[in-house]
Protein backbone atom coordinates (compact mmCIF):
# COMPACT_ATOMS: atom_id res chain seq x y z
CA UNK A 1 0.00 0.00 0.00
CA UNK A 2 2.77 2.40 0.95
CA UNK A 3 4.59 1.67 -2.29
CA UNK A 4 1.44 2.17 -4.31
CA UNK A 5 0.76 5.52 -2.68
CA UNK A 6 4.33 6.63 -3.26
CA UNK A 7 4.25 5.64 -6.92
CA UNK A 8 0.87 7.29 -7.36
CA UNK A 9 2.26 10.50 -5.91
CA UNK A 10 5.30 10.32 -8.17
CA UNK A 11 3.16 9.66 -11.22
CA UNK A 12 0.86 12.54 -10.37
CA UNK A 13 3.92 14.76 -10.11
CA UNK A 14 5.11 13.65 -13.55
CA UNK A 15 1.68 14.29 -15.08
CA UNK A 16 1.65 17.79 -13.64
CA UNK A 17 5.23 18.54 -14.68
CA UNK A 18 4.57 16.98 -18.07
CA UNK A 19 1.70 19.30 -18.88
CA UNK A 20 3.32 22.37 -17.37
CA UNK A 21 5.07 23.53 -20.58
CA UNK A 22 1.82 23.18 -22.51
CA UNK A 23 -0.14 25.06 -19.86
CA UNK A 24 2.54 27.72 -19.82
CA UNK A 25 2.49 28.24 -23.59
CA UNK A 26 -1.32 28.44 -23.64
CA UNK A 27 -1.23 30.88 -20.78
CA UNK A 28 1.30 33.01 -22.63
CA UNK A 29 -0.70 32.88 -25.82
CA UNK A 30 -4.14 33.67 -24.41
CA UNK A 31 -3.35 35.71 -21.31
CA UNK A 32 0.24 36.86 -21.78
CA UNK A 33 2.11 38.44 -24.67
CA UNK A 34 0.42 36.23 -27.30
CA UNK A 35 3.84 34.64 -27.95
CA UNK A 36 5.36 37.92 -29.06
CA UNK A 37 5.83 39.46 -32.47
CA UNK A 38 6.35 36.22 -34.40
CA UNK A 39 4.12 33.72 -32.56
CA UNK A 40 4.60 30.83 -34.98
CA UNK A 41 8.38 31.01 -34.78
CA UNK A 42 8.10 31.31 -31.01
CA UNK A 43 5.83 28.25 -30.83
CA UNK A 44 8.31 26.34 -33.00
CA UNK A 45 11.17 27.25 -30.72
CA UNK A 46 9.14 26.38 -27.63
CA UNK A 47 8.17 23.00 -29.08
CA UNK A 48 11.73 22.17 -30.01
CA UNK A 49 13.25 23.16 -26.69
CA UNK A 50 10.54 21.34 -24.73
CA UNK A 51 10.98 18.21 -26.86
CA UNK A 52 14.70 18.09 -26.34
CA UNK A 53 14.37 18.76 -22.62
CA UNK A 54 11.94 15.87 -22.22
CA UNK A 55 14.01 13.54 -24.39
CA UNK A 56 17.12 14.20 -22.34
CA UNK A 57 15.09 13.88 -19.14
CA UNK A 58 13.90 10.47 -20.32
CA UNK A 59 17.49 9.45 -20.96
CA UNK A 60 18.54 10.63 -17.52
CA UNK A 61 16.08 8.51 -15.58
CA UNK A 62 18.04 5.27 -15.59
CA UNK A 63 21.37 6.94 -14.73
CA UNK A 64 19.64 8.95 -12.02
CA UNK A 65 18.09 5.83 -10.58
CA UNK A 66 21.42 4.04 -10.52
CA UNK A 67 23.29 6.96 -9.03
CA UNK A 68 20.74 7.69 -6.32
CA UNK A 69 19.27 4.27 -5.78
CA UNK A 70 15.82 5.85 -6.11
CA UNK A 71 14.29 2.85 -7.80
CA UNK A 72 10.76 4.23 -7.98
CA UNK A 73 11.95 6.35 -10.90
CA UNK A 74 11.79 3.28 -13.08
CA UNK A 75 8.02 3.33 -12.68
CA UNK A 76 7.69 6.72 -14.39
CA UNK A 77 10.25 6.26 -17.15
CA UNK A 78 7.63 5.31 -19.73
CA UNK A 79 5.41 8.21 -18.75
CA UNK A 80 8.25 10.72 -19.12
CA UNK A 81 9.18 9.13 -22.43
CA UNK A 82 5.63 9.44 -23.70
CA UNK A 83 5.58 13.09 -22.72
CA UNK A 84 8.78 13.51 -24.74
CA UNK A 85 7.05 11.89 -27.71
CA UNK A 86 4.00 14.09 -27.15
CA UNK A 87 6.10 17.26 -27.39
CA UNK A 88 8.16 16.06 -30.35
CA UNK A 89 4.88 15.31 -32.15
CA UNK A 90 3.53 18.72 -31.23
CA UNK A 91 6.73 20.35 -32.52
CA UNK A 92 6.32 18.42 -35.78
CA UNK A 93 2.63 19.36 -36.10
CA UNK A 94 3.35 23.04 -35.44
CA UNK A 95 5.81 22.93 -38.30
CA UNK A 96 3.38 21.18 -40.67
CA UNK A 97 0.18 22.96 -39.68
CA UNK A 98 1.19 26.43 -38.55
CA UNK A 99 4.60 27.21 -40.00
CA UNK A 100 4.07 25.57 -43.40
CA UNK A 101 0.25 25.46 -43.34
CA UNK A 102 0.18 22.09 -45.12
CA UNK A 103 2.23 23.31 -48.09
CA UNK A 104 3.17 19.72 -48.87
CA UNK A 105 5.35 20.60 -51.80
CA UNK A 106 7.60 22.73 -49.61
CA UNK A 107 7.40 20.33 -46.69
CA UNK A 108 8.63 17.38 -48.75
CA UNK A 109 11.33 19.49 -50.35
CA UNK A 110 12.48 20.62 -46.92
CA UNK A 111 12.60 17.07 -45.58
CA UNK A 112 14.57 15.92 -48.61
CA UNK A 113 16.94 18.88 -48.99
CA UNK A 114 17.51 20.60 -45.67
CA UNK A 115 19.86 18.58 -43.50
CA UNK A 116 18.60 20.09 -40.26
CA UNK A 117 15.00 19.26 -41.14
CA UNK A 118 15.96 15.81 -42.37
CA UNK A 119 17.73 15.15 -39.10
CA UNK A 120 14.89 16.53 -36.99
CA UNK A 121 12.32 14.59 -38.98
CA UNK A 122 14.34 11.39 -38.57
CA UNK A 123 14.55 11.99 -34.83
CA UNK A 124 10.74 12.16 -34.79
CA UNK A 125 10.22 9.11 -36.99
CA UNK A 126 12.58 6.99 -34.87
CA UNK A 127 10.44 7.70 -31.83
CA UNK A 128 7.22 6.48 -33.43
CA UNK A 129 7.93 2.73 -33.07
CA UNK A 130 9.32 3.37 -29.62
CA UNK A 131 6.14 5.11 -28.49
CA UNK A 132 3.90 2.52 -30.14
CA UNK A 133 5.68 -0.40 -28.45
CA UNK A 134 5.70 1.15 -25.01
CA UNK A 135 2.71 -0.90 -23.82
CA UNK A 136 2.95 -3.99 -21.62
CA UNK A 137 1.69 -6.14 -24.48
CA UNK A 138 4.47 -5.06 -26.78
CA UNK A 139 7.10 -5.45 -24.07
CA UNK A 140 5.97 -9.05 -23.66
CA UNK A 141 5.74 -9.72 -27.38
CA UNK A 142 9.13 -8.27 -28.26
CA UNK A 143 11.06 -9.70 -25.33
CA UNK A 144 14.77 -8.91 -25.59
CA UNK A 145 14.28 -7.11 -28.86
CA UNK A 146 12.20 -4.52 -27.03
CA UNK A 147 15.30 -3.22 -25.24
CA UNK A 148 17.22 -3.00 -28.50
CA UNK A 149 14.36 -1.18 -30.21
CA UNK A 150 14.05 1.32 -27.40
CA UNK A 151 17.74 2.20 -27.67
CA UNK A 152 16.56 4.25 -30.68
CA UNK A 153 15.86 6.95 -28.14
CA UNK A 154 19.63 7.46 -27.73
CA UNK A 155 19.98 8.12 -31.44
CA UNK A 156 16.84 10.22 -31.62
CA UNK A 157 18.06 12.50 -28.84
CA UNK A 158 21.43 12.89 -30.53
CA UNK A 159 19.73 13.80 -33.81
CA UNK A 160 17.63 16.29 -31.86
CA UNK A 161 20.80 17.91 -30.55
CA UNK A 162 22.31 18.06 -34.05
CA UNK A 163 19.05 19.57 -35.32
CA UNK A 164 19.40 22.23 -32.61
CA UNK A 165 23.02 22.98 -33.62
CA UNK A 166 22.13 23.25 -37.30
CA UNK A 167 19.28 25.70 -36.82
CA UNK A 168 21.42 27.96 -34.62
CA UNK A 169 23.07 30.87 -36.40
CA UNK A 170 25.84 31.95 -34.10
CA UNK A 171 25.25 31.43 -30.40
CA UNK A 172 25.95 27.74 -29.74
CA UNK A 173 25.66 27.99 -25.99
CA UNK A 174 22.44 26.03 -25.50
CA UNK A 175 23.05 23.38 -28.17
CA UNK A 176 26.41 22.82 -26.50
CA UNK A 177 24.73 22.35 -23.13
CA UNK A 178 22.32 19.84 -24.68
CA UNK A 179 25.19 17.94 -26.29
CA UNK A 180 27.13 17.89 -23.02
CA UNK A 181 24.11 16.42 -21.23
CA UNK A 182 23.72 13.77 -23.91
CA UNK A 183 27.42 12.87 -23.72
CA UNK A 184 27.37 12.59 -19.93
CA UNK A 185 24.28 10.39 -19.97
CA UNK A 186 25.67 8.13 -22.67
CA UNK A 187 29.10 7.94 -21.02
CA UNK A 188 27.54 6.73 -17.79
CA UNK A 189 25.70 4.07 -19.74
CA UNK A 190 28.89 3.03 -21.56
CA UNK A 191 30.86 2.77 -18.34
CA UNK A 192 28.18 0.64 -16.72
CA UNK A 193 27.86 -1.48 -19.78
CA UNK A 194 31.62 -2.13 -19.86
CA UNK A 195 31.64 -2.92 -16.15
CA UNK A 196 28.80 -5.35 -16.51
CA UNK A 197 30.75 -7.13 -19.23
CA UNK A 198 34.01 -7.39 -17.29
CA UNK A 199 32.48 -8.34 -13.93
CA UNK A 200 30.75 -11.55 -12.99
CA UNK A 201 27.07 -11.44 -13.63
CA UNK A 202 26.04 -11.23 -9.98
CA UNK A 203 28.28 -8.19 -9.35
CA UNK A 204 26.93 -6.46 -12.37
CA UNK A 205 23.42 -6.97 -11.20
CA UNK A 206 24.27 -5.54 -7.80
CA UNK A 207 25.96 -2.52 -9.29
CA UNK A 208 22.94 -1.87 -11.41
CA UNK A 209 20.40 -2.04 -8.65
CA UNK A 210 22.21 -0.36 -5.76
CA UNK A 211 23.31 3.20 -6.42
CA UNK A 212 26.23 5.09 -4.99
CA UNK A 213 23.91 7.06 -2.77
CA UNK A 214 21.61 4.17 -1.96
CA UNK A 215 19.49 5.20 1.00
CA UNK A 216 19.51 1.69 2.32
CA UNK A 217 21.61 -1.42 1.78
CA UNK A 218 18.32 -3.21 1.56
CA UNK A 219 17.25 -1.02 -1.31
CA UNK A 220 17.06 -3.79 -3.87
CA UNK A 221 13.92 -3.65 -5.93
CA UNK A 222 11.45 -6.26 -5.00
CA UNK A 223 12.72 -6.82 -1.47
CA UNK A 224 9.99 -6.84 1.15
CA UNK A 225 11.35 -3.76 2.96
CA UNK A 226 10.70 -1.56 -0.01
CA UNK A 227 7.38 -2.90 -1.13
Amino acid sequence: MVLKRRILLLKTGVWILGFTPLAWVFHRFFLGDGLGVNPIAEAQLWGGLTSLTFLLTTLSITPLRRLTGWNDLQKVRRLVGLFAFFYVTLHFLIWIGLDQFFAWHYILEDIAERPYIMVGFTAFVLLVPVAVTSTKGWIRRLGKRWVTLHRLVYLSALLGVIHFFWITKADDRWPTVALAVWIVLMSLRSVWWLKSRTQPAWAGRRARSVGWFAPSKKGLPGTPERS
Binding site: F101, H105, R114, P115, A170
Partner: protein, 305 residues
Protein backbone atom coordinates in the same frame (compact mmCIF):
# COMPACT_ATOMS: atom_id res chain seq x y z
CA UNK B 1 1.66 50.16 -53.30
CA UNK B 2 3.87 52.73 -51.71
CA UNK B 3 7.39 51.51 -51.61
CA UNK B 4 9.72 54.44 -51.80
CA UNK B 5 7.94 57.62 -50.97
CA UNK B 6 10.00 60.74 -50.71
CA UNK B 7 7.57 62.75 -48.72
CA UNK B 8 3.85 62.68 -49.12
CA UNK B 9 3.16 64.44 -52.38
CA UNK B 10 6.74 64.54 -53.57
CA UNK B 11 7.02 60.88 -54.42
CA UNK B 12 7.37 59.63 -57.94
CA UNK B 13 6.44 55.97 -57.70
CA UNK B 14 7.88 53.43 -60.08
CA UNK B 15 4.94 52.48 -62.27
CA UNK B 16 5.55 48.79 -61.59
CA UNK B 17 4.59 49.27 -57.98
CA UNK B 18 1.13 50.58 -58.69
CA UNK B 19 -1.64 48.03 -58.62
CA UNK B 20 -3.55 48.01 -61.90
CA UNK B 21 -7.06 49.29 -61.40
CA UNK B 22 -8.69 46.06 -62.59
CA UNK B 23 -6.70 43.99 -60.11
CA UNK B 24 -7.74 46.39 -57.44
CA UNK B 25 -11.40 45.90 -58.34
CA UNK B 26 -10.89 42.15 -58.35
CA UNK B 27 -9.39 42.21 -54.94
CA UNK B 28 -12.49 41.27 -52.96
CA UNK B 29 -13.32 38.49 -55.31
CA UNK B 30 -9.74 37.27 -55.10
CA UNK B 31 -9.84 37.30 -51.32
CA UNK B 32 -13.14 35.43 -51.25
CA UNK B 33 -11.68 32.79 -53.52
CA UNK B 34 -8.58 32.54 -51.39
CA UNK B 35 -10.69 32.02 -48.29
CA UNK B 36 -12.65 29.23 -49.93
CA UNK B 37 -9.53 27.61 -51.25
CA UNK B 38 -7.76 27.91 -47.92
CA UNK B 39 -10.40 25.59 -46.52
CA UNK B 40 -9.22 22.75 -48.71
CA UNK B 41 -5.56 23.70 -48.55
CA UNK B 42 -4.85 21.00 -46.04
CA UNK B 43 -5.88 18.38 -48.59
CA UNK B 44 -4.76 19.93 -51.83
CA UNK B 45 -1.13 20.08 -52.85
CA UNK B 46 -0.28 23.63 -52.17
CA UNK B 47 -0.76 25.66 -55.26
CA UNK B 48 -1.91 28.11 -52.65
CA UNK B 49 1.55 28.67 -51.29
CA UNK B 50 1.44 32.24 -52.45
CA UNK B 51 -2.26 32.88 -52.36
CA UNK B 52 -1.79 35.36 -49.57
CA UNK B 53 -2.93 38.86 -50.23
CA UNK B 54 0.26 40.53 -51.51
CA UNK B 55 -0.04 43.88 -49.86
CA UNK B 56 2.54 45.81 -47.94
CA UNK B 57 0.85 47.09 -44.86
CA UNK B 58 3.16 48.88 -42.49
CA UNK B 59 4.31 46.72 -39.62
CA UNK B 60 3.17 48.14 -36.27
CA UNK B 61 5.74 50.21 -34.38
CA UNK B 62 5.48 47.84 -31.41
CA UNK B 63 6.55 44.92 -33.58
CA UNK B 64 9.38 46.80 -35.28
CA UNK B 65 10.78 47.77 -31.89
CA UNK B 66 10.37 44.43 -30.13
CA UNK B 67 11.61 41.88 -32.64
CA UNK B 68 15.20 42.60 -33.56
CA UNK B 69 18.42 40.92 -34.49
CA UNK B 70 21.05 43.03 -32.79
CA UNK B 71 23.46 40.55 -31.27
CA UNK B 72 25.36 43.33 -29.51
CA UNK B 73 22.42 43.29 -27.09
CA UNK B 74 21.84 39.52 -27.11
CA UNK B 75 20.81 36.84 -29.56
CA UNK B 76 17.14 36.54 -28.55
CA UNK B 77 14.67 38.51 -30.66
CA UNK B 78 13.48 40.46 -27.62
CA UNK B 79 16.93 40.88 -26.10
CA UNK B 80 17.71 44.15 -27.94
CA UNK B 81 14.53 45.79 -26.62
CA UNK B 82 15.16 44.36 -23.17
CA UNK B 83 18.88 44.92 -22.74
CA UNK B 84 19.63 48.13 -24.65
CA UNK B 85 18.49 50.48 -21.87
CA UNK B 86 22.03 51.40 -20.83
CA UNK B 87 23.11 52.38 -24.31
CA UNK B 88 23.79 56.11 -24.75
CA UNK B 89 23.32 57.05 -28.41
CA UNK B 90 23.95 60.78 -28.08
CA UNK B 91 26.25 62.61 -28.48
CA UNK B 92 27.56 60.60 -31.41
CA UNK B 93 30.48 61.00 -33.77
CA UNK B 94 31.22 59.24 -37.02
CA UNK B 95 34.70 58.82 -38.49
CA UNK B 96 34.92 59.17 -42.26
CA UNK B 97 38.24 57.91 -43.62
CA UNK B 98 40.05 55.99 -46.33
CA UNK B 99 40.05 56.82 -50.04
CA UNK B 100 38.39 60.24 -49.86
CA UNK B 101 39.43 63.88 -50.01
CA UNK B 102 37.30 65.08 -47.15
CA UNK B 103 37.94 62.70 -44.25
CA UNK B 104 37.37 63.59 -40.62
CA UNK B 105 35.52 62.96 -37.42
CA UNK B 106 32.05 64.42 -37.57
CA UNK B 107 29.43 65.05 -34.95
CA UNK B 108 26.25 63.31 -36.06
CA UNK B 109 24.47 66.66 -36.59
CA UNK B 110 27.27 67.83 -38.86
CA UNK B 111 27.33 64.59 -40.82
CA UNK B 112 23.61 64.91 -41.55
CA UNK B 113 23.35 68.70 -41.80
CA UNK B 114 22.12 70.05 -45.10
CA UNK B 115 21.11 66.72 -46.56
CA UNK B 116 17.56 66.17 -47.68
CA UNK B 117 15.56 64.14 -45.17
CA UNK B 118 13.77 61.23 -46.80
CA UNK B 119 11.01 59.04 -45.37
CA UNK B 120 10.80 55.90 -47.47
CA UNK B 121 8.66 52.90 -46.60
CA UNK B 122 10.68 49.77 -47.30
CA UNK B 123 10.16 46.05 -47.01
CA UNK B 124 12.78 44.50 -44.76
CA UNK B 125 13.59 40.86 -45.45
CA UNK B 126 15.62 39.04 -42.84
CA UNK B 127 17.88 36.18 -43.91
CA UNK B 128 15.90 34.09 -41.40
CA UNK B 129 12.87 34.28 -43.74
CA UNK B 130 10.68 36.78 -41.94
CA UNK B 131 9.93 40.30 -43.11
CA UNK B 132 8.46 43.63 -42.10
CA UNK B 133 7.42 46.89 -43.75
CA UNK B 134 9.12 49.84 -42.11
CA UNK B 135 8.59 53.59 -42.56
CA UNK B 136 12.10 54.94 -42.16
CA UNK B 137 13.46 58.44 -41.80
CA UNK B 138 16.99 59.34 -42.75
CA UNK B 139 19.29 60.72 -45.41
CA UNK B 140 20.51 59.13 -48.60
CA UNK B 141 23.92 57.57 -48.15
CA UNK B 142 24.96 59.04 -51.49
CA UNK B 143 24.58 62.57 -50.12
CA UNK B 144 26.90 61.75 -47.24
CA UNK B 145 29.34 60.06 -49.60
CA UNK B 146 29.37 62.98 -52.04
CA UNK B 147 30.39 65.35 -49.28
CA UNK B 148 33.27 63.04 -48.32
CA UNK B 149 34.49 63.17 -51.94
CA UNK B 150 35.75 59.65 -52.52
CA UNK B 151 38.85 59.45 -54.71
CA UNK B 152 39.16 57.47 -57.92
CA UNK B 153 40.54 54.55 -55.92
CA UNK B 154 37.40 54.21 -53.83
CA UNK B 155 35.42 51.22 -55.02
CA UNK B 156 33.85 50.06 -51.79
CA UNK B 157 32.52 51.47 -48.55
CA UNK B 158 33.17 49.68 -45.28
CA UNK B 159 31.12 50.55 -42.22
CA UNK B 160 31.64 49.72 -38.56
CA UNK B 161 29.29 49.38 -35.60
CA UNK B 162 30.30 50.79 -32.23
CA UNK B 163 31.99 48.58 -29.61
CA UNK B 164 30.80 49.29 -26.07
CA UNK B 165 30.71 46.12 -24.02
CA UNK B 166 29.83 48.15 -20.92
CA UNK B 167 26.59 49.29 -22.57
CA UNK B 168 26.05 46.35 -24.91
CA UNK B 169 25.80 43.12 -22.92
CA UNK B 170 25.95 40.91 -26.02
CA UNK B 171 29.45 42.16 -26.78
CA UNK B 172 30.76 40.74 -23.51
CA UNK B 173 30.82 37.34 -25.18
CA UNK B 174 32.43 36.65 -28.53
CA UNK B 175 29.27 35.50 -30.29
CA UNK B 176 30.52 37.38 -33.34
CA UNK B 177 33.88 38.90 -34.08
CA UNK B 178 33.25 42.46 -32.81
CA UNK B 179 33.10 45.09 -34.12
CA UNK B 180 30.30 44.28 -36.55
CA UNK B 181 31.46 45.18 -40.06
CA UNK B 182 29.49 45.60 -43.24
CA UNK B 183 30.30 46.85 -46.69
CA UNK B 184 28.80 47.94 -49.99
CA UNK B 185 30.15 48.42 -53.45
CA UNK B 186 30.33 52.16 -54.13
CA UNK B 187 27.51 52.04 -56.70
CA UNK B 188 25.32 50.17 -54.21
CA UNK B 189 26.10 52.77 -51.59
CA UNK B 190 25.22 55.52 -54.09
CA UNK B 191 21.93 53.87 -55.10
CA UNK B 192 18.85 56.00 -54.56
CA UNK B 193 17.36 53.39 -52.22
CA UNK B 194 20.29 53.27 -49.82
CA UNK B 195 19.78 55.38 -46.74
CA UNK B 196 21.38 56.11 -43.41
CA UNK B 197 18.36 55.97 -41.14
CA UNK B 198 17.85 58.04 -38.03
CA UNK B 199 14.22 57.26 -37.33
CA UNK B 200 11.18 55.01 -37.73
CA UNK B 201 7.58 56.24 -37.95
CA UNK B 202 8.90 59.79 -37.63
CA UNK B 203 10.48 59.11 -34.24
CA UNK B 204 14.20 58.88 -33.50
CA UNK B 205 15.57 55.34 -33.68
CA UNK B 206 15.33 53.40 -30.45
CA UNK B 207 18.50 51.71 -29.22
CA UNK B 208 17.24 48.27 -30.30
CA UNK B 209 16.81 49.50 -33.88
CA UNK B 210 20.34 50.85 -34.16
CA UNK B 211 20.28 54.35 -32.69
CA UNK B 212 21.39 56.87 -33.60
CA UNK B 213 22.40 55.94 -37.17
CA UNK B 214 22.04 52.77 -39.20
CA UNK B 215 22.24 51.54 -42.75
CA UNK B 216 19.15 50.47 -44.75
CA UNK B 217 19.49 48.60 -48.06
CA UNK B 218 16.01 47.20 -48.70
CA UNK B 219 16.97 44.84 -51.54
CA UNK B 220 19.49 43.05 -49.35
CA UNK B 221 19.00 40.79 -46.37
CA UNK B 222 18.60 42.63 -43.10
CA UNK B 223 22.02 41.75 -41.74
CA UNK B 224 23.60 44.15 -44.24
CA UNK B 225 21.92 47.01 -42.38
CA UNK B 226 24.47 47.53 -39.66
CA UNK B 227 23.44 49.58 -36.67
CA UNK B 228 24.97 52.31 -34.51
CA UNK B 229 27.52 53.26 -37.17
CA UNK B 230 30.75 54.88 -35.97
CA UNK B 231 32.94 54.58 -39.04
CA UNK B 232 32.60 54.92 -42.80
CA UNK B 233 35.74 53.99 -44.72
CA UNK B 234 36.35 54.09 -48.46
CA UNK B 235 38.48 51.25 -49.81
CA UNK B 236 39.73 49.94 -53.10
CA UNK B 237 39.40 46.30 -52.04
CA UNK B 238 36.23 44.48 -51.15
CA UNK B 239 35.83 44.83 -47.39
CA UNK B 240 35.09 41.93 -45.07
CA UNK B 241 31.68 41.72 -43.50
CA UNK B 242 31.04 40.03 -40.16
CA UNK B 243 28.65 37.27 -41.19
CA UNK B 244 30.79 36.32 -44.14
CA UNK B 245 33.77 36.00 -41.83
CA UNK B 246 31.62 33.92 -39.51
CA UNK B 247 30.38 31.50 -42.20
CA UNK B 248 31.50 32.32 -45.75
CA UNK B 249 29.52 29.44 -47.27
CA UNK B 250 26.29 30.82 -45.79
CA UNK B 251 26.60 34.59 -46.01
CA UNK B 252 28.18 36.46 -48.87
CA UNK B 253 29.24 40.04 -49.43
CA UNK B 254 26.30 41.01 -51.61
CA UNK B 255 23.49 39.32 -49.65
CA UNK B 256 20.89 40.39 -52.18
CA UNK B 257 17.46 38.99 -51.45
CA UNK B 258 17.11 36.11 -53.89
CA UNK B 259 14.40 33.44 -53.68
CA UNK B 260 16.37 31.29 -56.15
CA UNK B 261 19.49 31.01 -54.04
CA UNK B 262 18.83 29.23 -50.78
CA UNK B 263 20.73 29.66 -47.60
CA UNK B 264 22.65 26.36 -47.32
CA UNK B 265 20.52 25.39 -44.36
CA UNK B 266 17.10 26.72 -45.24
CA UNK B 267 15.00 27.86 -48.18
CA UNK B 268 14.76 31.52 -49.15
CA UNK B 269 11.81 30.97 -51.49
CA UNK B 270 9.21 32.19 -49.02
CA UNK B 271 8.99 34.42 -46.00
CA UNK B 272 6.66 35.14 -43.15
CA UNK B 273 5.56 38.74 -43.06
CA UNK B 274 5.29 39.71 -39.40
CA UNK B 275 1.61 39.79 -38.50
CA UNK B 276 0.59 37.32 -41.20
CA UNK B 277 -0.23 33.65 -40.80
CA UNK B 278 0.66 32.24 -44.21
CA UNK B 279 4.07 32.52 -45.76
CA UNK B 280 4.32 34.64 -48.89
CA UNK B 281 6.66 34.24 -51.81
CA UNK B 282 9.92 36.14 -51.56
CA UNK B 283 10.53 38.55 -54.42
CA UNK B 284 13.80 38.88 -56.33
CA UNK B 285 15.77 41.80 -54.87
CA UNK B 286 12.92 41.97 -52.35
CA UNK B 287 10.82 43.54 -55.08
CA UNK B 288 13.26 46.38 -55.85
CA UNK B 289 14.62 44.97 -59.09
CA UNK B 290 13.63 48.04 -61.05
CA UNK B 291 15.95 50.19 -58.97
CA UNK B 292 18.83 47.79 -58.38
CA UNK B 293 18.92 44.90 -60.87
CA UNK B 294 21.05 46.92 -63.32
CA UNK B 295 23.94 46.92 -60.86
CA UNK B 296 24.25 43.15 -61.07
CA UNK B 297 23.80 42.64 -64.78
CA UNK B 298 26.06 39.87 -66.01
CA UNK B 299 26.94 38.71 -62.52
CA UNK B 300 26.36 35.11 -61.50
CA UNK B 301 24.19 35.67 -58.44
CA UNK B 302 24.65 32.07 -57.33
CA UNK B 303 28.33 32.72 -57.02
CA UNK B 304 28.03 36.25 -55.67
CA UNK B 305 25.34 35.55 -53.09
Amino acid sequence: MLICTRRPGEGDLPSSEITPYESYLDRRQFLAQSATLAGVAALAPSVLGAAEEQEDERTPYEDITNYNNYYEFGTGKEDPARYSGDFVPLPWTVVVEGECSNPGTFALEDLLKGHEIVEPVYRMRCVEAWSMVIPWRGVRLRDVISRAQPTGNARFVEMTTVVRPAQMPGQRRRILDWPYLEGLRLDEAMNELTILATGIYGKDLLNQNGAPLRLVTPWKYGFKGLKSIVKIRFTSDMPKNTWQMMAANEYGFYANVNPEVDHPRWSQARERRIGEFRRRLTLMFNGYGEQVAHMYRGMDLRKWY
